[in-house]
Symmetry: D2
Subunit: 345 residues, 4 copies
């Protein structure tokens, strides 16, 4: 059994981790920590756990004292909050999977510019691994510190990777128009998040300034072999879960839609969690699962390719992918605890 | 392995069965039949099954030919459609779990009055078992034919059973005001079911005339030991899943709320799938799970007790309970394939 | 022109008043006050008012200084906050329409018991008028202080009034099971109000303890001519607007459903805003309007009558009714500014 | 009074026309026709009209006989159904406002290619006016036949017009990523439209093939003075109403965001129904109104401008704009019957 601790267990990503670990045959929850609910029974906060979970939330200091009893620490804290505990955990030989943004950006300067705070562990950046298994599986196997990808980056990078790897699109032409369910805004009591403000409306937000932009650019630049910049526009959609990432790029060679499909099929042929689909994807078909569906169309009239990917932001976009990374790091079947489809309707 | 066939696999209850069986460690899907989608790949209808299910939907005649290769047949057809195939399956020694209404009402006359058609298998009614495990577990163990309870009856009977068993309420005073998500209306292309007609609205329907009324009355009468009639009012609520059943009755003895809680705790103390909760339940805490949450309040000013139960209409209210019945019938752990909490949010 | 001031203009009821007054041919907004947004442009808070409203929110002290320039003051503040300003306004001859609860309950003791605070203006209770025009139109005409009814009481009293006036139901048997959209919870940043917590779920709340209970009981007791107590159960439904109030009572005389309909038709025959409908009502058909739809069924099997009323909680349940009261108080056509149906879908 | 007839009055656009005309001070509904509900009371189909509308739906033949009694005919029929009646109405001197697509595309060949049917009235195309008042007000004044713009084109053309008129973007770079509420799919009983299939999901549809593409291209080409092609991607969002159109283009000159805002402010400075807003728009702020909100951002890193417009698809995107056109054609205040903001929440 893999012994597990979770920091930030009462946020939505943390709670999704608890759900997945509750049903995971090879893992055991040792502690759940929470800043807001210290001392509370976990099943009093999330009442779906009546009969399933008896943990009482501890604080981060208590969690620190229990590092010796765990094999892996999941961190689901706001950015800037994971530096200290990550160092301590790694020193004790505990593997760390950080669901936050602190170890995703390899350039200290870029991190500090977009996140507006000093990076206090830049020495760890070199060895940290960007935990997108479909692209980095080998590095993940031996990593001690995983920077679990952001939700929008997961969907967007998986959608665009085959094109950039094949170098068949103009990197200056890339536009990502992505749409997320409201759980992406977190479990956060603020007026813009209340039901009556979100319901029956859609908006774009953080236009030309969202923090996931440099993360997507970094990973796509790696694939391409040279630096690129792109436009990324996130939206808030009135639904609980799901991300649809619609990506546009100018094709630089003559290719049919059929050939593009072949490229994608080949690229993802061994991946259980990525399915290239004839139809354009809908988020409901991946909701609550770790799956990513990708569809594409070639617009012959304009020479642009349109790639559309769908994930569940809390699963493949956060906790599901974190479990996938844990499975790889501990050498067990990558699908353990994740081998189920979306539940409809 | 238990070999399984499903009739009506493309309705919402049928699809929920497919989901549960896909993840069930002791069961194996042999065939899926569908009237509307004969010849289609199941994963082309429900695209969440890409990579999980390779069945092609067969018709009911083909299903009939495969009865020899299954141990249990799930029937998720409209009422009146299961008589013939049930007889044939039972003759071949195949156990039958009918998710429809055809074998729930023990009185042929009552069935015919409320459902408006002749019962063509009334000879099977005596041996069929009403599959509510918390009340009928022993009979289910040896049953060949299970009448899987309706969604509203499951929630309502579980809410009221302790009161009626204890004979502490006036049976003439019972009112059930129940609210269901839209999946309860089925996967049915009709104007009242379209998004823009259901969204942002609530209505009561089939007031004083819903077909689940005699089913609830039958089972509560059994518990009480004498016939009762009650008021049952169903509502349609703009959400996919969930039933909240709020039940009112006049208490006939002097009792405190605490004593009422003790009665309920005692009644359900050995039941994994029923939790008596201090708070009044919310459907989200059981959504996608086989759990039933029950809360109650004594209104001292009026002498009425208010009991509130929450289930997922497609799980404990249909497919989840059907799997629970299958597990009991085949002597395996009742929780197999159902041992997970609601996924939030 | 009627000159108008609004206290609490940035809550949902206050905002609905602004909307209605913007389109009202005989009224003129003099000031909008807001505790939370003092100094802000109203159209920066509610951006739907770009091009329609140039007010800057003032605080309550500034509002007090402007009492001389208005004819009527609408108060949409939390209970307990309107005592002082109401006295000052009345002293200056300004009519007051209070959308809060402070002047609805005629008994000081009952108010203090249910609201948990001292009533500081009980001397005004005798002359204040409960502003339900369909029952109190004559008193409203000459009132200086209107206690605008609560949302649940408006729906519930209109549903039950004909039965109680006719004295044909057992007053001990009355149960009101009411369902409200989330705007009923106000514009309030709290975890239970955020989108992901409300969406895809229904719950009952304040069971056997909601503060609208004594208000409903007071008005129905007046109609009946003697005191009654009843059960009132409110629910939160995932939609922005609307209340459906389903009321149950035992009929004490022999009557057909047809005769009951005649009773209702007769009772409301001159009322523009109340329609007795053959079908059971749906909240969408009154959403955004000042209409109340009422339908009913007699359940012959149990001798119970089931009356169902639908209103928009922010319109007939708050701001719409407040405007209706203003129109009556100022002797203009009661329908002014309210003469439009629900907008669908 | 302007005497009005409506063909297709029971679809969502038709019903929105009825709502607007019910409240219009200068118009009078003479007849409502409906293919599906011939002979039915309008208020039995749309129960919000109880007390507001006493029309019985007539069929198209009866409507034809009443052309003499109306001044203007609104046609809200599927494409291909309006040719014949349009000719007849125009011959009798009745003005026609067609909410469908049949007279929007000036090129017969383009229409036939995208809509897949013969155009039977191409002789009317020259004199028909594309009814987007902000761009064509003078032509609308004297028109007999208005082709009322599509919902997506209205939002997209208003968003991009200032850029193309100013010729400061590369026409080959234009991408429109638009999102619509479900009422855009019509009142149509089909499985993909039912609540449980649309709710909690987002999808792109008709990617690189939607029929609104040539309409947008035609109007933007006019503004630019030369032909352009562009990418247009529509999406379905789980909400009743609203379109958000997010438009991307490469800026070809050096300009600041401030200067871009000035360009837009200047372009729309006399337009009541178009507001250029500092914040990026949200559909809720225009829902139920005839307003269009436009916001924009310059992404300096990529040289791309991102313009975002929000409308209500049934109002400014259909019936509201049709009434605006009627007002202009009949020489009355353009805002008549449309002078109200969105109702929140």
């Amino acid at each position: 059994m893999i012994n597990v601790g979770i920091l930030g267990s009462t946020g939505y990503a943390g709670q999704q981790l608890v759900w997945l670990l509750t049903n995971h045959s090879n893992a055991n929850i040792v502690f759940l920590s929470s800043h807001s609910y210290e001392g509370d029974l976990y099943s009093d906060i999330y009442k779906n756990y009546y009969g399933f979970n008896k943990n009482i939330c501890i604080n981060i200091q208590e969690a620190e004292c229990k590092l010796n009893s765990i094999d892996v620490l999941f961190i689901a804290l706001p950015h800037g909050k994971s530096f200290d505990i990550t160092k301590k955990a790694l020193e004790k030989g505990v593997k760390v999977i950080d669901l936050g943004a602190d170890f995703r950006i390899k350039s200290k300067a870029t991190y500090e510019q977009w996140y507006g705070l000093d990076h206090q562990c830049s020495e760890l950046l070199e060895d940290s691994v960007y935990g997108l298994p479909e692209l980095k599986r080998e590095s993940i196997k031996n990593a001690s510190l995983i920077a679990n990808p952001g939700c929008y980056p997961t969907a967007s990078i998986l959608a665009l990777a085959p094109l950039l790897k094949a170098k068949i699109v103009d990197p200056k032409s890339i536009i990502i128009d992505a749409k997320s369910g409201v759980s992406g805004a977190g479990r956060n009591a603020a007026i813009p998040n209340i039901y009556t403000e979100c319901n029956e409306s859609i908006k774009a937000y953080s236009v030309a300034s969202h923090r996931h932009t440099p993360e997507i650019e970094q990973e796509l630049s790696h694939l391409l072999g040279s630096d690129l910049t792109l436009v990324f526009t996130p939206h808030l959609v009135p639904m609980n879960r799901g991300i649809l990432s619609v990506c546009y790029a100018n094709l630089t060679i003559d290719m049919s839609q059929e050939e593009l499909y072949k490229l994608y099929d080949e690229f993802y042929k061994d991946e259980f969690f990525v399915k290239v689909t004839e139809d354009m994807p809908e988020t409901k078909y991946v909701k609550g699962s770790n799956m990513c569906h990708i569809g594409l169309r070639l617009d012959k009239r304009t020479g642009k390719v349109i790639v559309c990917s769908a994930i569940d932001n809390l699963m493949k976009g956060a906790a599901g992918q974190a479990i996938q990374n844990m499975n790889i790091m501990f050498g067990i079947d990558e699908k353990t605890g994740l081998n189920f489809p979306a539940m409809l309707p």
